[in-house]
């Protein structure tokens, strides 16, 4: 058996939510000397474990707040797990948040250069791929404009173009693609398909179940920070969809009860 591309082992992440900001100096002093943290931590992830083999593509689905983004951030080394560990093998490129990794006051050219370099390319490699990245992002006319003048779509195009040209062995995409226009989305999807055929590893977080079914062999369904299902993409996405429908129908699923309670409040 070959080394897995990704091993997530018993990963947990708790956040202690902050109360309202102290209004007075005395209040902030009192807070400084009180050891009590807000009583209940937000358990964003609880003991999540899975492995991804090289060449496998894994979809991650779940409602907003299920812990999908926390999981991806921890995989990418952003933040420290409360417990558990993440091990990755190979070069990773990630598209996590819109515009993350770009500086608004610098031009597209400067941002592209720094971003590709920081993603692990050597200077010569960046220079060699520069024109190709700009062409892929369809930003030739705007590449010398500051990034703050870019639309959300343009930022995603640049981000995706850099990520795919870093030549990663693991690509992590967090639904950011939804911002691009139709033709660019198709182009990205083609590129992801290509990427998959080259036996590279893909992690895709999406609310678009047809995209998950198209690109992923396997899917994990996260709910309240826990893995509720891990299996073939077809099976898991269908189960998730039907659960979503029952929820909307107000059937007696545990989540529905919580929601009803919330509404009652």
């Amino acid at each position: 058996m070959s080394t897995p591309a990704l091993v997530v082992d018993n990963l947990s992440k708790w956040y202690w939510l902050q109360g309202p900001a102290p209004r007075t100096f005395q209040e902030s002093l009192r807070r400084l000397f009180s050891t009590a943290r807000s009583d209940q931590p937000l358990r964003s992830l609880s003991k999540v474990s899975f492995r991804v083999a090289p060449g496998e593509s894994l979809g991650i689905v779940g409602r907003n707040g299920a812990g999908k983004s926390t999981l991806l951030r921890l995989i990418c080394g952003l933040g420290r797990p409360t417990s558990g560990s993440v091990r990755l093998h190979g070069r990773v490129a990630a598209l996590l948040e819109l515009g993350a990794g770009f500086h608004p006051d610098l031009t597209g050219r400067q941002n592209l250069y720094v971003s590709a370099l920081v993603s692990g390319l050597r200077r010569k490699e960046v220079q060699a791929r520069f024109d190709e990245i700009v062409r892929f992002a369809e930003l030739a006319e705007f590449i010398d404009q500051p990034l703050r003048t870019y639309s959300a779509g343009m930022q995603v195009r640049l981000g995706f173009a850099v990520a795919i040209h870093v030549d990663p062995s693991v690509l992590i995409v967090d639904e950011a693609l939804a911002v691009g226009d139709y033709s660019f989305q198709q182009k990205c999807l083609d590129r992801i398909e290509h990427f998959r055929q080259a036996s590279k590893t893909l992690l895709l977080v999406s609310h678009d179940m047809s995209a998950v079914r198209r690109f992923c062999d396997r899917t994990i369904w996260l709910d309240h920070g826990k893995v509720v299902m891990d299996g073939p993409a077809e099976v898991v996405t269908r189960a998730y969809e039907s659960d979503d429908r029952t929820l909307m129908g107000g059937a007696a699923s545990p989540e529905a009860v919580t929601l009803d309670e919330l509404i009652a409040l």
């Binding site: 956040y15 921890l74 990418c76 080394g77 952003l78 933040g79 420290r80 797990p81 560990s85 993440v86 091990r87 990755l88 093998h89 190979g90 070069r91 990773v92 990630a94 996590l96 948040e97 993350a100 990794g101 770009f102 500086h103 006051d105 610098l106 400067q110 250069y113 720094v114 971003s115 370099l117 920081v118 993603s119 692990g120 050597r122 200077r123 693991v170 992590i172």
Partner: protein
């Protein structure tokens, strides 16, 4: 605990070459932002220390004469290293906070940021250095061979500056008022460092405490090699290097402890 997959595989020397490229690119970007929308641009790297030195010169030769010979060279040899240090520390305090875009990049090596700050300010120092040589000539001080020892002083100061910069960068993440505190500390430090005055003007029992200030030792060494044509006091410089090394190890540990806290606070 997390085994952050290094995105650049290869030997340590390979990795070092890669980080060197990253540092260079980020220093370039620092310069691009620093002088964006400025008419005189890079000229300010010379003009600001020159103006500051002119002020000190007028005050301490005309208004409160201190009677220090070659005073313009004397002030430059103190002011330029000081500006490198204090500029780095003050900018560095915000280095994690003001580089959100990089800090949020997967696997970005955050210790690169203080290195970039110290590197940027070192280049600013280098740009202002011709003024010092100009001053040497104007005051009729022949450049001596001991000037070739300057790179040693730069190395010691780079280590010290990096250590302090790293420490304040990490502490700024958990101490919200760090910048305000730092401004006060730096003003105090400025006056406790013989930049515009000479320790020899002070009573002996006060003067002996100045060896405790690493910057005082570095600046005195600058004056030894540039003005007096002497080798620096190697013992004092050695102690300063050791101090810098200890602070650096401590600072690195603190930096590693807190650099993640910031990522999560976003």
């Amino acid at each position: 605990m997390i085994n952050a997959a290094k995105n650049t595989p290869g030997s340590p020397s390979h990795r070092l070459a890669y980080y060197w490229e990253v540092v260079q690119a980020l220093i370039g970007r620092d310069f691009a932002m620093r002088y964006k929308g400025s008419t005189l641009g890079l000229l300010w790297a010379v003009l600001s220390p020159l103006a500051m030195a002119a002020i000190l010169y007028v005050v301490f030769t005309r208004i409160v004469p201190l009677g220090i010979p070659h005073y313009s060279t004397y002030v430059f040899t103190g002011l330029l290293p000081w500006t490198w240090f204090s500029g780095s520390v003050l900018t560095g305090a915000a280095s994690l906070l003001s580089n959100r875009d990089l800090v949020r990049k997967p696997f970005f090596a955050k210790p690169v940021l203080p290195v970039v700050v110290v590197g940027t300010h070192f280049l600013l120092y280098m740009l202002a250095l011709p003024v010092l040589f100009g001053s040497l000539l104007v005051e009729g001080l022949a450049p001596t061979a001991t000037l070739l020892l300057l790179p040693i002083l730069w190395a010691v100061q780079a280590l010290l500056t990096l250590a302090v910069t790293m420490l304040v960068a990490a502490l700024s993440v958990i101490v919200p008022d760090m910048r305000h505190l730092l401004e006060i500390v730096l003003i105090l430090w400025f006056y406790l460092t013989p930049i515009f005055y000479d320790v020899r003007l002070l009573p002996a029992e006060t003067a002996r405490y100045f060896v405790l200030n690493p910057l005082a030792v570095i600046i005195k060494s600058h004056r030894d090699v540039s003005i007096a044509g002497l080798a620096p006091d190697w013992l004092a410089l050695g102690i300063t290097t050791a101090t810098a090394l200890i602070v650096f190890v401590l600072a690195y540990a603190v930096f590693r402890l807190f650099d993640d806290v910031f990522v999560e606070e976003l």
